[in-house]
Symmetry: C3
Subunit: 377 residues, 3 copies
Amino acid sequence: MIDPPSLVDQYCHGVLRTELGLGTFEAQLARTEGPPAPGTTLFDTQTGFAVRRWCPPLLGLEPHCPPARYLARRRELGVVEAGRRLLRGSGITTYLVDTGPPGDLTGPAELAAAGDAEAHEIVPLEQLAEQVADTSGTVESFLANLDESVHGAAAHAVAFASVAGLRHGLALAPEPPGPREVRGAAGRWLAARRAGDELSDPVLLRHLLWSAVASARPLQLHAGLGAPGARVDRADPVLLTDFVRATAGLRADLVLLHGYPYHRHAAHLAGVFPHVYTDAGAALVRTGARAATVLAEILELAPFGKILFSTGAQGLPELHVVGARLFREALDRVLGTWVAEGAWAAADAGRVGAMIASGNAGRVYGLERTGGGPGPR
Amino acid sequence: MIDPPSLVDQYCHGVLRTELGLGTFEAQLARTEGPPAPGTTLFDTQTGFAVRRWCPPLLGLEPHCPPARYLARRRELGVVEAGRRLLRGSGITTYLVDTGPPGDLTGPAELAAAGDAEAHEIVPLEQLAEQVADTSGTVESFLANLDESVHGAAAHAVAFASVAGLRHGLALAPEPPGPREVRGAAGRWLAARRAGDELSDPVLLRHLLWSAVASARPLQLHAGLGAPGARVDRADPVLLTDFVRATAGLRADLVLLHGYPYHRHAAHLAGVFPHVYTDAGAALVRTGARAATVLAEILELAPFGKILFSTGAQGLPELHVVGARLFREALDRVLGTWVAEGAWAAADAGRVGAMIASGNAGRVYGLERTGGGPGPR
Amino acid sequence: MIDPPSLVDQYCHGVLRTELGLGTFEAQLARTEGPPAPGTTLFDTQTGFAVRRWCPPLLGLEPHCPPARYLARRRELGVVEAGRRLLRGSGITTYLVDTGPPGDLTGPAELAAAGDAEAHEIVPLEQLAEQVADTSGTVESFLANLDESVHGAAAHAVAFASVAGLRHGLALAPEPPGPREVRGAAGRWLAARRAGDELSDPVLLRHLLWSAVASARPLQLHAGLGAPGARVDRADPVLLTDFVRATAGLRADLVLLHGYPYHRHAAHLAGVFPHVYTDAGAALVRTGARAATVLAEILELAPFGKILFSTGAQGLPELHVVGARLFREALDRVLGTWVAEGAWAAADAGRVGAMIASGNAGRVYGLERTGGGPGPR
């Protein structure tokens, strides 16, 4: 039995504070371009089935009970109490929380309190730049304030996260843009911008990536699924190869988030480049009953010291639960099978399980207590 | 035991009417560029082994008997009687039949009679245009007749099918071409054309796709394998993303056929876009003993209401048999395992099995009787 | 039990002649861009775990013993004796050996003697050209000497191997370059060249490929993984499609090496084109406990007469052992499962196992004795 004592969720968001009905809950189960087709429901997905498997028992119901019954029970307990029970049932001992939009989600401190866990902040690079743009009058002040903000964030956050791959694609020129190029791009963007506009200019995205790298904090890069209507091949992590090579030998680690359906490519980069790590997380939440296979595919090429667990959860504490439970079960099934077949030694399997569950994250993000006591499970 | 009572083959062709020898039968087992290499045979493929597993018992022989013995028995029965036994043994209750070339294949009515099943017509867009070109004297009459033909076909066919991805690749400009652009392309194509020439002009291919979309009938798009000598990456369904987005909110559903080796990409599009569906079919016939895994890969991202069974069979009734049997067995194995592991509830598995086998097709194509009685198995 | 009596390793290198310490041994376990990240080791990879599983028993130790203990025992025996025990324990009966760099590796004769096996030479095309360049004074003499060298090599070698896909990518213009184009490229390359410079000019790479094809010897092409810091998608074998079509009907077979993570694409090409073969080898060494799944993925589309075993081993005899043992075990598990499920007949499985293990290689490379006696296992 591979049963890591602690679980660091290296990338997630907070949870919604509002009560949810059947439709508003369903809409959080996947990121889509429009409502479900007539005659279909997002509950009939791997994520929906996984929620129905793992979450009802934490609220005192039978596994696989109908969605309407689950939602009724959830409202009966109230969003706060349901959230507490779910998060504490997840087994997660530390959350690294992306504090970017969407707006009304709990922050790290609230998530920590609700889940009786540690929590740390991940600063979303592009949103940081948008906030700075909202309060800067000129190009010069924007760039100076941005520099200061990145520097300030590096002092208190455990990592930066970039959605450049989702907004523009990962085929960005690998080298840092020159100062004049950055000023020109910033000028054009600020002039055309209305409040709330998203940053997707490739020069500014590259400027942000290199600012983060210069801070020497780990930089998380979204890859693969994530921007529902965009071409997923534009977020294939192989497109990052030249950027990865350009950042080799600097002090910042790069962590490839998600990756699916290109998770084998992400694992390859983690195997080749010392400063690259890969994620075993959000892909499991999306693929549910197939989580063991997807995890095993990541374990093909990625060195075991380069894989980090996450849930990628956002909005629903059910997604934190599902991410953590699917991961633990997949880990036990995959590594346990290899031990049973004689391919791996049992002691190695336990050690590797603990590395992926928390040890690697502890080392990469400089966390304390990752070897700590057993989670609340 | 997941055992759907009815089976709608959402995409297939008819069968050959001529007696076949060992070599002519073998040549139907795969689409290749040239005869098998010296010392090899197409019977030594997953498709060949699957035919030898499932078909001999339907003709009174042992599974896995040698090909020569099987072919001798097939000729002894005659092509008509062998075809009847095979099709009736497939368990398929409704066939949707692409009536395009190659020439001497049975049509929907003949297939229905031989298989004691329902059958409906799928109109192949490009061949429709080629037929119209054969009988139209001018660009104006060609375009007017084409418009009328598409409109007429929409009144009696259950769907349109396009091989644009196999002839040109799926990287087509997403918007409909303008009238002048279409007239120009049609003029050039008609002027250079000899009877029998295939349509592969990208402007005319796009014109056909948009004509089909305007008819509001479901539009089936070939993706992945299919054009043996062409670059398979040019038929990656991610290349359709912009076209898919451009057609969102119109009344036509898009059904991605085949998809392998990019079936995870097709499943992703079916998950993101309400009007996109994906196929679980021809890929199983090609991958044989691996069918359960390929089906499971499709079931990762595709919502269960968006997956439709097909065989993709063409020429040999054996391929209809193999497609249906591999699908039923894969469905039972994959969903049955998930039930045994506790990941899925048994009732959900039965329901999802019936949806993929026939219910989703019934809804998308507006078929009656899809919840009908048990097949002849 | 699928247990092929002989095993032809259709692509490997020789082994190092020097004693290795823990660090120098570890560095041979993977091809990376730099040393392992702090806190990680290349022993914690699938390859590392596979070496610890299979090799210690051949040197009289327990499976999975710690690396330091294994290395101590290896040094105690000495590199020659350890190499003999390992190679003889691999079960490989014939080695086809790429004699290219890196320098101080044993050649075919030494490998044959150490392993009590047959061995034949594979001539690395690009290194052949570099050696010719080192000794040719003018463009004319370079091209004439190169032509003569290729011709001479074809007389004694069993195959040519090209790393064009690793150095430049496989997106090469498919047709042979014209004589003037070749002379121009050769002139520029020779003028700029310093001794030791690698050949990566695309015109000269194409010239080499077509020279090899003209010789009618089998041509092995590296695809997929192999150049650690390069973009792996540039070595996707689908990029070879047009070259493959251009070489169809000539007398030379093309063998796609490695292929992972695009091994399904390589299998597809082997299924479509009579003169294309695919490899089941190096990918297994890299993916260790996942070898059975990777082999099964290759077996989806590749006809069974078109798949050839290799280890892709280089430097360490441990990699020859791991490649052979993982292959045998994966073959037994995959084919054995299909027999147990009734999908394949047992006799077919045994026959296909022997084809992949040695029969196909015997036919493609014109080897004798491939049906020979049982290996030393």
